[in-house]
């Protein structure tokens, strides 16, 4: 057993599962958005605003943002533990990734509920 305190969920299996579940959420969200844009070629601002005013869409978008952040963390954590050998530099890189992820979540919520 290799000890690791900076991974997403400590357990490799949990991270693996989260990576796949979040990928599914992101895939459905991407397909939905592409479909929506294709079916509405003359999209107006009002229409776009209406879409994101519904609670359902807000929940779905927030789920997609949280999935993106979790997915990115697991991925960037893997990249950092592969390529950054110096522990201090690795921790700084991971901290920056974590901070950016947190900023994106707060910013995303602000945008979604600020419409």
């Amino acid at each position: 057993m290799v000890t690791s305190i900076t991974s997403f969920g400590r357990s490799g299996l949990y991270d693996w599962m989260m990576q796949r579940v979040t990928a599914l959420v992101l895939a459905t969200y991407t397909i939905f958005m592409i479909g929506y844009l294709l079916f509405n070629p003359d999209l107006s601002y009002e229409q776009w605003k209406d879409l994101f005013s519904g609670t359902g869409m807000r929940i779905y978008t927030l789920l997609a943002i949280l999935s993106l952040v979790a997915h990115a963390w697991i991925g960037m954590w893997s990249v950092s533990t592969d390529y950054i050998k110096q522990a201090g530099a690795r921790f700084v890189f991971q901290s920056v990734c974590g901070l950016l992820a947190f900023i994106y979540v707060v910013w995303g919520i602000q945008i979604l509920w600020g419409i």
Partner: protein, 234 residues
């Protein structure tokens, strides 16, 4: 033909270098790479490499031949030589002791970690622990591993984290004991593997399958370990 061999003797050389040797193959025969190494050694006896059984059973002469890991003794020149040139390097990712000889300590440490022996706490039967033919068949494709390290040293995940990621060879062996009907330590073995590195650093790129000289499939075994972990945890 032209053979370019990786040379490094830490007692003499400041840095490793590639030595180019022109060599004529007697009779133009399709000899094995190991035979070619013997011809090279006849010319320059300082060349160091490991070899023993010369028939793909002992796993001593794993090396990188024109970019692909394999056993020199069962690799004919016709399989690897390109444009009449062969580049021979030690297996990548592990420290070089001298020339084509690598230090396999890290590789064996990972093997040791997975407890490569049967664990059974139940009282031993009078003669032996029996298996049905079906139970025995579960071990096919697993027990044949000769620990030559061709797979693990072809794996980038093992290159970056040889101290944390068990590697394809060790994981194939780990599954060999997980799949054994006579072993009773399944839960303990699985608990040891459920961290972000030991198993899950495998991203399934299948370099291991591509190079295994015995035609084994570590990626499949790793998938089965993952399935066992999922079954246990959900």
């Amino acid at each position: 033909m032209l053979v370019s061999v990786y040379r490094y003797n830490p007692e003499i050389d400041d840095a490793p270098y590639m030595q180019d040797v022109h060599i004529d193959i007697p009779g133009g025969k399709d000899i094995m790479v190991l035979d070619l190494l013997q011809l090279l050694k006849d010319k320059d006896s300082t060349l160091a490499y490991r070899r023993s059984c010369r028939e793909g059973v002992c796993g001593s002469d794993g090396m990188n031949m024109n970019g692909k890991n394999g056993l020199a003794c069962i690799t004919p020149l016709s399989e690897v030589v390109e444009n009449d040139k062969l580049v021979l390097r030690p297996l990548p990712g592990l420290p070089v002791i001298r020339d084509l000889v690598i230090d396999m300590t890290q590789f064996y440490k990972q093997y040791e970690k997975i407890k490569p022996f049967l664990i059974n706490d139940t009282p031993a039967p009078a003669i032996e622990r029996l298996q049905s033919p079906e139970e025995r068949a579960e071990l096919d494709g697993l027990y044949e591993c000769i620990l030559c390290a061709c797979c693990s040293t072809a794996c980038p995940s093992f290159w970056w984290n040889p101290d944390k990621f068990v590697g394809p060879s060790g994981l194939l062996q780990a599954y060999r004991f997980l799949a054994d009907s006579r072993d009773t330590a399944t839960n303990e073995r699985l608990a040891e593997l459920d961290d972000p590195f030991s198993v899950f650093r495998c991203h399934g790129i299948m370099n291991c399958v591509n190079v295994c000289p015995k035609g084994l499939n570590p990626t499949k075994a790793i998938g089965k370990i993952r399935n066992m972990l999922i079954q246990q945890a959900t």
